[in-house]
């Protein structure tokens, strides 16, 4: 398919800010890699959180894990739907010590980083457990996966910190996770 000249749209509107989606903090991995990425003292002044991720591992295969508020006990669950270009797999992890959120780009995929968007809903509400959802994946021109995940942290505590780490190896240089707050 060839693009047919249509419309140049980049100057149609001004730069309007909604003021309800705020950037809070970004962590970018430096040379030598990093075993984990943590966000501490997350403000409680938002309704929802969003983590936006560009990640690469230092090994052939690694998934992304997360724990909230320093809880290392078996208080997490997740469900996933993953596809690799030919096969679709669905599954779950029950009573786990962390939530698994998709597969990171492998070290052999030069210049390829996985993308991910993680939404954590109503993260300060003390009346319910904390639910989350992700869309993530990487493509390396012949390999890769696309993932839907849902996660549950079975705690009524507010989420004040988040610790991300790979199932094996480290985060490679230039991996990045940014935290945003969404007002309610």
């Amino acid at each position: 398919m060839s693009p047919i000249p249509g419309i140049i749209a980049s100057q149609i509107t001004g730069h309007l800010s909604t003021n309800s989606f705020e950037s809070i903090q970004t962590v970018t991995v430096g040379s030598g890699g990093q075993s984990s990425i943590s966000f501490s003292s997350i403000p409680s002044t938002y309704k929802h959180l969003q983590f936006r991720m560009s990640l690469k591992g230092t090994v052939a295969s690694a998934a992304l894990l997360v724990q909230y508020s320093g809880d290392t006990a078996s208080n997490y669950n997740d469900h996933y739907l993953e596809a690799n270009g030919s096969t679709v797999v669905a599954g779950y992890d029950a009573t786990a010590a962390m939530i698994i959120y998709g597969t990171m780009a492998p070290t052999a995929a030069t210049n390829v980083f996985s993308g991910g968007v993680l939404d954590v809903l109503d993260y300060t509400n003390s009346n319910k457990y904390k639910t989350s959802r992700t869309l993530s994946g990487y493509d390396a021109n012949g390999s890769g996966t696309i993932d839907f995940d849902s996660g549950l942290w079975r705690s009524t505590s507010s989420i004040s910190s988040a610790l991300f780490y790979p199932t094996s190896g480290n985060f490679a240089q230039y991996s990045q996770i940014s935290l945003y707050g969404i007002k309610g």
Partner: protein, 163 residues
Amino acid sequence: MAAGATYTPIATSSPSGLTSVTFSSIPSTYTDLILVFSGALSANDGISLRLNSTYTNNNSITSLAGNGTSAASGRGTNIYSIYLYDYVSPGTTVSNIQAHVMNYSNTTTYKTILIRDNSTNSYTEASVGLWRDTSAVNQLIFYTGGATFSAGSTVTLYGIAAA
């Protein structure tokens, strides 16, 4: 922790009767771009995305789709554009697309694009695309294979800046 408002509308278009929308001179001041489409086409056709003004068949995509009966996964390799609809053609059904172009202005990595698209009476799909070029992205071309966008169709580009 510093906090600043973001998720900023950069440009929007109502391309009724046209076959493409080009967002050019995209500022490099954001971290991610989000392209949102809501609308329909004049006939069954696909919608694709190209980044910047030059392109080769270096690109690829992996998708997961469900049609109400079954789920399937597909892959395209060495392709010229990223298929935003690559499962079935949306035709005249009102459909939607949200495409995240991650870390679009960096010059170190290829560009990963996360896509969610739905044809409201036939399927839902998620895809991940790879634009195999380390150049910063300053232009997006959103286009059909020849069908025109129906009245009421909108395409909006947002920027998200990391702290």
